[in-house]
Amino acid sequence: MHPSDKYRMACWTATVAGVFAIVVCALLAYDYSRRLVKDPLDSQAYAALKNALAQQPANETLKEQIRTLDLQLRREYFRQRAFTAVGAILLLAGILIFTFAAKAAVTLHRKLPQPQLLPPVADAEARWTPRARWAVAAMAGLLIALALGLSFTFRSQLPPTEGNPLVGGGSRRRSEEPASTVGGRSRLLQAEFPPADPEYARAWPRFRGAGGRGVSAYENIPTDWDVLAGKNVRWKTPVPLPGNNSPVVWKDRVFLSGADKNRREVYCFDAATGKILWTRPVPGPSRVPGVMEDTGYAAPTVAADGRRVFAIFADGALAAFDFDGRPAWSKDLGIPDNMYGHAQSLLTYRHLLLVPFDQGTAEQPKSKLYAFNSADGKIVWQVNRPVPNSWATPIVIPSDGCDLIVTAAFPWIIAYDLRDGTEVWRVKGMPPDTGASPTFAAGKVYAANDGTELSAIRPDGRGDVTATHVVWKGEDGLPDTCSVLADRRFVFLLDLTGALTCYDAEKGEVLWYEDFEDGFSSSPSLVGNHVYLFAKSGKCWVVEPTPEGCKRIGENQLGEPCVTSPAFQDGRFYIRGQTHLFCIGK
C-alpha cells in the first residue's frame, strides 16, 4: 500500500472511530441523565402498592402485584446496567481505535524541524529561569492563598469542649444559634442527642419514667394535696380528647395523647402553667378498630427522646413530632389484631424508638417488636415475637455490658439485645392476656400477672433460662393491669381490688399486705421511701413501707376517676384524670 494511502486510511479510521466514540458517549450520557431523573428503585407505583398493602396486609392480590412489579423493576435495573457496561466497552474500543489510528496518522505525517531557519538562541536557560523563579513564587503564593482560604472557610463542626470552647463550633456557631423562643424551645432543639443518661433519668420520658420502673428521681414530692381546695395544686387543665395514657415530661413540656373514634391528637402542655402549647392531629386509617371501652383509642403512653415526642394509637397510627410540634415522620403499622385494643406504650432508648406491637392469638401470633430510628422513622431492626396480644410495656435493663429490652406476654418473658433485636434469653411464666408490665431492681427482673406467678429472674442468662435463672417465685397478690414495683428491699404487687402485697426482694417471702378497698388500674410508684397509689375512684394514698408493715402517710382526692400513672419531676408530679391533667406540687 502506498504511504499516502496508509495515511488516508489512518485518518479515515481515526475519524470514524472518533465519531463513533462521541456517539456512544452521548448515548451513555443520555442514558445516565434519564436514570438520574427516573430511578427504577423509586417507582411511585411500587410505593403506592406497598402503602396499599400496609392497609390490607392480608391481600394476596396486592402481594402478587408487588412481586410482579418488583421483578419488572429489577429487570429494568439490570438492563440499564448491561446497557452501560456494553456502552463502556464500545466507548473504550472507540477511543482506542481512534488513538491508534490517529497516532499512526501523526507518525506518517511527522516532519523534521528546520532549525537553520531560526536564529540560534544563546543560553536559552538563562532567559527562562528568572521567569521560572517568579512563576514558582507565584505558585507558592497561590498555594498560600488556597491554604488561608481553606483554613478560614472550613471550621470544625464538632461540639465545643469545656477546656477549649473554640474547638468545634466556637464563637461562629454560637452567633448562629437562633434566639431563644418561648420557654427556651429552640435551646431544647439544639440540645445534645441522644441525651446523656443523667438527663434522661431526670426526665420522665416514657410510661413509668426512665427505665419503666415507676421510681422517681426526686424525693421532694408533696404527700398531701387537695384538688377541691386548691392545696398543692399548681394547675389543672382539661384534656381535649380522652385517653388512658399517662403523662410524659421533658424539662418544661408535658406530653399526652387523646383519641376518639374519629380523631387522634398529641398535646404539649407548658409544664409551668398548664397551658396547651400545641395540639397536633395524627392522620391514620379510616377504618375504626374495635376496642374495649376501658382501653379506649389512646391507651399507649407517648414517649420522648429529648428532641421528639412519639405517639401510637389503637389503629396502629404512629407519629413523631419535634418539641415545637413540627411533624417529624409518621407511619401506619396497620390495625393490630387485638380484641381489647392496643395498649402497649412506646419506649425510647438513645436514638431508637421501640414499639412493642403484640397481636394475634396463641395459635397464630402476629406480634412484632420494632426499633425505629427516632430521627427519621427508618426501621433499624424488627423481630417477630412468638406470643399473642398483650398489654404489658417492656422495660430496658443493663446486662453484661449490653442493654436488653425485656418483654412479657403469654407465655414468655423474653429479653432482646437492643443492638440488633437478637433474643438473648427467655423464661416461661406469663399467663394469657398479660397486662402488668415487668420491672427491674437490684439486678433482678420481676414479672407477674394474675393467673400465674411472680418471678424474680437473673438477667444474665442465654437461651431458655426458666429452670436456671428464676431466683424465686411468689403466688400472692398477683396484679391484673397494675405494673410491678420494686426496689432493693421490696417488691410490691397491687391487684385489681386494692390489695397491696409486699415481698422481701431477696428471699421472695411475703412480708405483709394492705387492703385499700378500691379498684386499681394505675401502677404504683416509688418516691424515696414512699409508695404512691392512685385508685380508679380518684382517691390517692401515700404509704411508707417497712419490713413490718405499711404506714399510711397521706390520703388525698383527685376529684375525678384516674386509671393512669403519675410522672414525677422536681417538687411536683403530673397525673391525668378522666378529663384533666393535674400538676401537683408546692
Binding site: I66, L112, R133, D403
Partner: protein, 468 residues
C-alpha cells in the same frame, strides 16, 4: 568499550533528503502501530470478562422469602501477585535495555502497550507502584497494617532501577504513562518557566498522599487516579469527566499526569538525578545540530549554556545566598500554614466527617440522616466517644498538617534555589529528573540515524553511553 563511528549527517544538507531516507521505516512503523492497536483491542475484549462482584439491590421488605446467605468472594490467588512481580522485573529490565542500550523507541512503545494491557486492563490498575507509596506510608505509621512484600517490591524495584538507568519505568512499564504516551497526538511545548511552576503540584500531591495515608484517612492517589476507571470499565460520572478531560488534555500536553501530578514521578526524579547510566540524546557525541531542540514534548531537553558576565554572576550569587537564608523561613511559614489547614484536612477523615455530621444531625443543623450516621446509631456507641476520637484525630492533623506545610515550604525553597544555580552544559542533554526515557528524541538525532544507516547490524549493540 566500543565507540560508535562518527558519521556525517546527511539530513543537514537538505530536509527533503532526510524525509526520503526516513520515510520507509517511519511508514512501516506506523503500520505497525495499527497492528499493535488491533491486537490490543482484541486483548481488551478478551479481558472484558464478567465481573464476579455482587449486585447491591435492596431485597423486598415484605416477603417471607429466605434470602441466601451472603457469599464472600474467594481470596485472589497469590499466583497473580508473583506473576505481577515477575512481569514488573522483566518489564523494567527490558525497558532499561531498550532505552539505554538498544535505544529503540519502537521497542519502548510496544513494551508500553504490553504493560498497559497487563498492569492496566488485565490487572485493572492494581497493583500499582504509584499507589504503593500509600501502602508503605500506612505501614510505617500504623503497626497493625501488614505491608505485603509484593507491594513493597512494587515500590522499591522502580526506584532501584531508576537509580541505575533513569526513569525507564515511566518510559514503558507504567500503564498510566503508556496511556498518556498513546494519546499524545499533538503535544505542544509548555514554556519551561510554566513547566517548572506546575511541577510543584506533584510535590504537593505527594505530600498530601503521604499525609492522608499516614493518618489512615484515604488513599488519595487511588481515589483520584484519572485512568483506573478506564482500566476497570467502571467509574462515577464525576471521575469520567475528570478522566476524559485528562485524556483530551494529554493530546495537546505531553504526559500531564506524569509531569504535574504523579507522586512517584517526584521520587523517581530524585533517584534519576543520580542515576548511573541515564539515557543520552545522541548515542555518542552531540554535534549541536539543534534538530532535537524542540523534539521533546515533555520539556526535558536542556540546552547548552554560556559563561555568565561577571555582573550577572555576582547578582546570581547574592540571589542564591538570599534564597538559602530564606529557606528556613519558608519552612517555618509552611509549618504554620499547614497547622492552620488541620480542619479542612481532617474533614476528609471518615471518622471526623462522621462525628461532624452526627453532631449536626443531633443539633438540628441538618435534616435527615446518612448511611454512616445510621450505622453509627445502630452500634449503640456513645456520641461522646465518637467526638473524643474525632478531636484526637484533629490534633493529629495539626501536627501532620504542620509537617506537610514545612515540606511544601522546603520544596518551594529548594525549587527556587535549584533555579538559581547555574549549570555548565556544552551539549543538548536530557534533564535527568524530568526525562522519562521515552526515546522520542532518538529519531531527531543525526548521529542516531548515521548509526542505523551505516551499521544497522550494530543497532542495539551500541556501546553503553558514558556517564555524564
Amino acid at each position: 568499550m566500543k565507540r560508535l563511528r562518527r558519521v556525517p549527517c546527511p539530513r543537514l544538507r537538505g530536509h527533503g533528503k532526510c524525509r526520503k531516507r526516513r520515510s520507509l521505516p517511519t511508514r512501516a512503523w506506523a503500520g505497525h502501530r495499527i497492528g499493535v492497536g488491533i491486537l490490543f483491542i482484541v486483548f481488551l475484549c478478551i479481558s472484558c470478562r464478567i465481573s464476579p462482584a455482587a449486585e447491591r439491590f435492596p431485597p423486598p421488605d415484605f416477603t417471607d422469602h429466605q434470602l441466601p446467605a451472603t457469599q464472600a468472594p474467594a481470596a485472589p490467588s497469590p499466583v497473580y501477585e508473583y506473576a505481577d512481580l515477575a512481569f514488573l522485573i522483566a518489564a523494567l529490565g527490558l525497558a532499561s535495555y531498550l532505552a539505554v542500550r538498544r535505544r529503540s523507541r519502537r521497542g519502548l512503545f510496544v513494551l508500553g502497550i504490553v504493560s498497559l494491557a497487563w498492569l492496566g486492563f488485565w490487572r485493572e490498575g492494581c497493583i500499582c507502584p504509584i499507589g504503593a507509596i500509600q501502602n508503605v506510608t500506612l505501614a510505617a505509621f500504623n503497626s497493625t497494617y501488614v505491608l505485603p512484600l509484593t507491594v513493597a517490591a512494587f515500590l522499591a524495584l522502580p526506584l532501584i532501577v531508576t537509580l541505575f538507568f533513569g526513569r525507564t519505568f515511566c518510559a514503558a512499564v507504567c500503564p498510566l504513562g503508556a496511556v498518556q504516551e498513546l494519546v499524545a497526538l499533538k503535544p505542544l511545548r509548555v514554556p519551561p518557566w510554566l513547566d517548572q511552576a506546575l511541577g510543584l503540584l506533584a510535590y504537593v500531591y505527594l505530600g498530601l498522599a503521604v499525609l492522608f495515608s499516614a493518618t489512615g484517612t484515604a488513599f488519595l492517589i487511588c481515589r483520584y487516579d484519572p485512568f483506573v476507571g478506564f482500566f476497570r470499565r467502571s467509574m462515577g460520572a464525576d471521575m469520567l469527566v475528570f478522566s476524559l478531560s485528562f485524556l483530551v488534555l494529554g493530546i495537546f500536553i505531553g504526559r500531564p499526569y506524569c509531569r504535574y501530578l504523579c507522586p512517584l514521578g517526584v521520587l523517581l526524579g530524585w533517584f534519576s538525578r543520580i542515576s548511573q547510566w541515564h539515557v543520552k540524546i545522541p548515542p555518542d557525541r552531540c554535534i549541536q545540530c539543534r534538530l532535537c531542540e524542540e523534539a521533546c514534548p515533555y520539556g526535558a531537553i536542556r540546552t547548552p549554556t554560556t559563561v555568565q558576565p561577571p555582573a550577572d554572576h555576582r547578582r546570581g550569587r547574592r540571589r542564591l545566598a538570599l534564597l538559602i537564608v530564606l529557606l528556613p523561613i519558608l519552612i517555618v511559614l509552611g509549618f504554620g500554614l499547614g497547622w492552620m489547614l488541620r480542619q479542612p484536612l481532617a474533614r476528609l477523615n471518615p471518622t471526623v466527617r462522621l462525628a461532624e455530621r452526627f453532631y449536626q444531625e443531633q443539633t438540628g443543623r441538618v435534616q435527615g440522616t446518612t448511611g454512616a450516621t445510621d450505622a453509627f446509631r445502630n452500634t449503640g456507641r456513645p456520641a461522646d466517644a465518637l467526638y473524643a476520637e474525632a478531636r484526637s484525630l484533629l490534633g493529629s492533623f495539626g501536627l501532620a498538617g504542620g509537617l506537610f506545610g514545612a515540606y511544601v515550604g522546603l520544596v518551594v525553597g529548594g525549587k527556587l534555589i535549584y533555579l538559581s544555580v547555574r549549570r555548565r552544559r556544552t551539549d543538548y542533554q536530557p534533564d535527568r529528573a524530568a526525562c522519562v526515557s521515552c526515546g522520542r528524541c532518538f529519531w531527531y538525532c543525526p548521529a542516531e540515524q548515521a548509526l542505523w544507516k551505516n551499521n544497522p547490524a550494530a543497532c542495539g549493540l551500541a556501546t553503553m553511553p558514558e556517564k555524564t
